[in-house]
Amino acid sequence: MKDFSNRYIFIFSAVLVIIVATLLSLAATLLQPIQEKNLEIEKKRSMLESIHIAADKKNAETLYDKYIKESFVLNSRGEVVSGVDAFGVVLKNEQKKPVEKQNLPVFTAELDNGQKVFIIPVEGKGLWGPIYGYVSLESDFNTIYGVNFDHKGETPGLGAEINKSFFEGMFPGKKLYEGEKFVSVAVLKGGTDPDNPHGVDAISGGTITSKGLEKMLYDCLSKYDVYFVKSKQP
């Protein structure tokens, strides 16, 4: 192999880096609108799934416009914050702020039978990375109407199962409150009675993801406590 001078090595690496950087930034900029559109559709699809409406890539937007009637942002005292777009709120960034300053989004949906449900986004930590989803509540702000969970990179076959329907299907009908007290829903190891209003079966082998999910539900939903109690309808 030829012996290259230091000057050649410097120029070679500089040119290589410039080419690579141009290529990558071109790809990133050109593809960004498509990628963001995908994320937006995905978000709408997840929300619709939490109210048991199956949507795919094509009809997600029309269905979203049809069912999701309004959205607003609350603070931890349960007051509506004006001037913030609920859809644009990034939960991960909110969770870094102190609780009093966090924006808490709520989406209101009206089902075909006229029933009103409220969709709350949740986000927490699993074993390998973030887990997130949507919980929809009936207008008593106590009964879970449906859920949709997803994850960034939980173990396939184990923690990753939280986005499967057998797991999500255990949530509808569960209660967040016991009397006046907020207790949320626990994910229990070793199984639980299906009639238990505050517990669902954990996933075998996915203990840390299950526990993370339980914590996510408690942490995210408890911030709405004041609002739930205030606007509860019998």
Binding site: L23, A27, L31, I34, W128, G129
Partner: protein, 214 residues
């Protein structure tokens, strides 16, 4: 100089050898880490196999094309830059045009960068060969890697989750009603290693020339 045909027997050998006698996983024992991670289910294993094949083939091609201009002292860095660029491009394209697949693979796409097979092939082959054979060598090694991934994930999914490509075969066959239960062990990473071990055992018992003599 006579021009060698594109698919001469020597070139075809570059593709077929890594499937058996020179398999990157079972013989060269490279890329084991990702073989453990993505083989719980067949679908991620397949997509991973395809992505790795693309990256190893194209990076082999690129490195072989500029092998005469790469200063030896910084060659590893140059190889890494090429690999990383390709992986990020694949990831970006998946995110834009195959969103569901990219969600399934998530972090594993990024981890292709650290797959030892790719750097191994660049060092061992592309640095010393012409672009076309290097490209074929990449395809062959990617396929050899993918073959093992698919075999391992087939057994792990079938015995661990009772399905093939997410289709519940065992349930349809009615085996559960006869008292059969899925083996939870198969889902855990150590079983991937044991299955790979069994494949190596099988391969060596069939082909005695692979056994080292003292």
């Amino acid at each position: 100089m006579d021009k060698e045909p594109l698919f001469s027997s020597k070139n075809l050998e570059l593709i077929t050898a890594p499937l058996g006698k020179k398999n990157p996983i079972t013989i060269q024992v490279l890329g084991i880490c990702s073989a453990l991670a993505v083989t719980v289910k067949m679908k991620p294993a397949l997509v991973m196999a395809i992505s790795v094949t693309i990256v190893v083939a194209v990076s082999n091609l690129v490195i072989a094309a500029m092998r005469k201009y790469i200063p030896e002292r910084i060659r590893i860095i140059v190889q890494l830059v090429v690999i990383a660029t390709l992986v990020i491009l694949v990831d970006q394209f998946l995110k834009a045009f195959a969103f569901d697949v990219s969600k399934q693979l998530s972090v594993f796409v990024g981890l292709i960068i650290t797959n030892c097979i790719i750097m191994g092939r660049l060092e061992a082959f592309a640095m010393a060969n012409k672009p076309w054979p290097s490209f074929l060598d990449g395809i062959g090694n990617g396929a050899g890697y993918g073959l093992i991934l698919v075999v391992v994930s087939f057994f792990r999914e079938l015995l661990g989750s009772g399905s093939i490509l997410d289709y519940p075969v065992l349930e349809k066959l009615g085996i559960y009603s006869a008292g059969y239960e899925n083996n939870g062990m198969m889902i855990l990473p150590p079983m991937a290693l044991i299955v790979v071990g069994l494949i190596i055992w099988f391969q060596r018992s069939r082909d005695k020339s692979l056994i080292e003599h003292k």
